[in-house]
């Protein structure tokens, strides 16, 4: 792109000097000492192309290798969560005890450990005369773990997305109202937040799960009871800051209406931090769900979430390590990727980082 810019400039220069010669002179000759008119096009150079803030941020995001890899992993895992359960052709909840506790086996990937051998080194498929291959193995009820892992990912992602989106709506509404109206309303709303912040998140979640029946919706509900507070604070802080800035003052002075102010100035400038907070909420929600399942407050069988699978896997970790390894890898990869993406987003959207 910069090469292109350079070309533009040189054409500009040659246009300016087109009346003398296209090529620059080779040596200082007497005829060069003549006055030339000033060309205003050469006086102001705007450095870099004018790109919109979002395009610029997107470009910076793509420059960050970690973020790009993270985005790819998220897309891949999401795709697998959507189509993975169909790929093996086995349902996630069908029990078949003849297939119980089979280690993972994939034809062609034996060297990677997908060899169907158990902790003692016996190929269970041969020993039991099973011709079918279970890519991630099976659990003690003979359910296909490949299907269960991706089904579980699907459920975990759903919970996380739902929780994050609800946090977003409540947080933006609460923070926005608080910041926009200011004064007494803001004061009261902030006092409420201050009290809520003092309550440890996880404890609230646990208490709510205790009274609600564990299920996808109750987990989401428990997570948003206090989850929105963080978002509300970010939104309010951001809005207050922007409200005090001179360009808002200027457009007020020019007679802009409230709704115009919100749509044109406050929201676009708050979107960055909101997006970053949202991105950090998702891994937190994934973690909380898994955490709840791990201490026995998660989804009930036969439903599977990553947390449930990890809990199941942990129980039989000693002899059937693969049961822990696969959901463990998926949840770790998801959390790492979302954290990296959130980090990358924050760096890309933070104009102070611009160099």
């Amino acid at each position: 792109m910069s090469a292109e810019l350079g070309k533009n400039e040189s054409t500009l220069v040659s246009q300016v000097h087109s009346h003398s010669s296209v090529f620059p002179p080779a040596e200082v000759t007497d005829d060069l000492f003549v006055h030339e008119p000033l060309d205003s096009r050469l006086q102001e150079q705007v450095s870099g192309q004018t790109v919109s803030v979002w395009k610029d941020a997107w470009r910076r995001l793509l420059k960050n290798r970690g973020t790009v890899i993270a985005m790819c992993i998220i897309v891949l895992i999401t795709l697998l969560a959507l189509i993975g359960p169909q790929l093996s052709g086995l349902p996630y909840d069908e029990q078949n005890l003849t297939f119980s506790n089979l280690p993972p086996k994939v034809a062609g990937l034996e060297w990677l450990g997908f060899d169907g051998k158990d902790a003692k080194g016996i190929d269970q498929y041969e020993a039991r005369g099973i011709t079918e291959h279970f890519w991630f193995g099976t659990d003690e009820f003979g359910r296909d773990l490949w299907t269960r892992v991706w089904k579980g990912t699907q459920i975990s992602l759903t919970i996380a997305l739902l929780a994050a989106l609800l946090d977003l709506f409540i947080g933006v509404a609460y923070g926005g109202i608080s910041a926009f109206y200011g004064g007494k309303i803001d004061n009261v709303m902030q006092r409420i937040i201050e009290v809520l912040v003092g309550i440890p998140n996880l404890i609230v979640i646990i208490l709510f799960i205790l009274i609600l029946d564990p299920g996808i919706f109750s987990i989401v509900l428990a997570m948003i009871v206090t989850g929105w507070v963080g978002m509300a604070r970010v939104v309010r802080g951001q809005m207050m800051q922007i409200k005090a800035q001179e360009f808002v003052l200027a457009s007020r002075a020019l007679g802009a209406s409230n709704s115009r102010l919100i749509v044109k100035h406050l929201l676009p400038n708050a979107v960055g931090p909101i997006l970053v907070t949202l991105m950090f909420t998702i891994p937190t929600a994934i973690f909380f769900e898994a955490f709840l399942s791990f201490i026995g407050l998660g989804l009930q069988p036969p439903l599977a979430s990553l947390g449930v699978l990890i809990q199941d896997g942990y129980v039989s970790m000693r002899y059937f390590t693969y049961k822990l390894v696969f959901p463990g890898i998926v949840i770790s990869a998801l959390m790492i990727s979302f954290n990296l993406l959130a980090d990358g987003l924050r760096d890309a959207l933070d104009p102070r980082m611009k160099k």
Partner: protein, 335 residues
């Protein structure tokens, strides 16, 4: 002529970021005499701060590189100094005052300790001696109740007071050279005058040479004996202040002077702004970098960089107008 205390010869500094190189300083040369004040003027981005920082080797080591040239202090080659030798140079021989007094003091350290640090390092004073000296320094820069104030934190001081403290820190070990990087830019006008007064007075007392970086020609007229004008990393003109102010030889210098309001000027003479803005130093083309904005531009200026011409023992200018072939143009410049 005296032996210069500090001299810079053909200094080139470039900054490297991921995929581009910015040549911030391109062949700067000057010498600083004992006891004199040399001002370096220029718009922001002209490389004046970078030049100042490279004198003490204070540029960020990871991104900035001095690619060419020499810096000599007291006949020693500063560029070949070891870290230890550099530490002995900084604060003791050459000191620096920065632009923004609000940020150039450590917010969590008592100001007395911030003054004493340098003393402890260079003068090997005991704690109580250093404390006495710190109080003395604060008194010298005009801070009342110095004995109590040394236990204060920077945020308890106003901007002007803080700049006095910064100057006290810089002068604590009686350096021979003081580099002041826009020392008054961040201050109110009335405070500016006080700080300049203070610096002049201290210079008289201590005989320190001063390099004053500024974009304010008023400050230059007040403080300096000589002035160097920088544009896009080069010194385009250097000479005694009275000469430069009365007979500027570079169109840029002339432009700067014409765009500055003066009390002694004829009322009917309007202010003339310099058209345009400085170019992006990453995309300089051949020729004189001021050419696109120069009212006296000639065809040669677009293609060849002008050489430095001496117009007297102390006055040099880099401009094609000095070429004998540009006589006609020069006449219109001087009129």
């Amino acid at each position: 002529m005296y032996e210069p205390i500090l001299s810079v010869d053909n200094l080139h500094v470039s900054f490297h970021s991921q995929n581009r190189v910015v040549k911030a300083v391109r062949g700067v040369s000057f010498a600083l005499q004992k006891g004199e004040t040399l001002a370096i003027v220029g718009e922001s981005g002209s490389g004046k701060s970078v030049t100042a920082k490279s004198l003490m080797r204070m540029l960020p080591a990871q991104t900035a590189k001095i690619t060419e040239g020499a810096i000599r202090y007291d006949n020693q080659d500063v560029l070949s100094f070891s870290p230890r030798e550099l530490q002995k140079l900084r604060g003791k021989e050459i000191s620096m005052v920065f632009q923004d007094p609000m940020t150039s003091l450590n917010p969590t350290m008592k100001i007395g300790r911030q003054i004493m640090e340098g003393l402890a390092k260079h003068e090997k004073l005991t704690k109580s001696e250093a404390k006495q000296k710190a109080i003395q320094m604060l008194e010298m820069v005009g801070i009342p109740q110095a004995a109590e104030r040394i236990d204060a934190y920077p945020h308890q001081f106003s901007g002007g007071m803080r700049q006095r403290v910064v100057i006290a820190i810089a002068l604590a070990c009686r350096p021979k050279v003081l580099i002041a990087d826009e020392p008054t830019t961040a201050l109110d006008v009335t405070i500016q005058a006080q700080i300049l007064d203070l610096m002049r007075g201290l210079q008289k007392q201590t005989g320190t040479s001063i390099i004053l970086i500024t974009h304010d020609l008023g400050v230059v007229a007040n403080m300096a004996q000589r002035v160097a004008v920088m544009y896009t990393g080069e010194i385009v003109e250097i000479g005694p202040v009275h000469e430069i102010f009365t007979r500027p030889q570079h169109p840029y210098t002339k432009g700067l002077l014409q765009s500055m309001p003066r009390l002694d000027a004829d009322r009917s003479e309007p202010l003339v702004p310099i058209p345009g803005s400085p170019p992006d130093v990453t995309r300089l083309m051949g020729g004189c970098s001021f050419a696109p904005r120069c009212p006296y531009v000639m065809r040669v200026c677009h293609h060849f960089s002008p050489q430095s011409t001496s117009l007297g023992p102390e006055h040099q200018v880099s401009c094609w107008l000095q070429d004998r072939r540009a006589e006609e143009m020069r006449r219109s410049f001087c009129s």
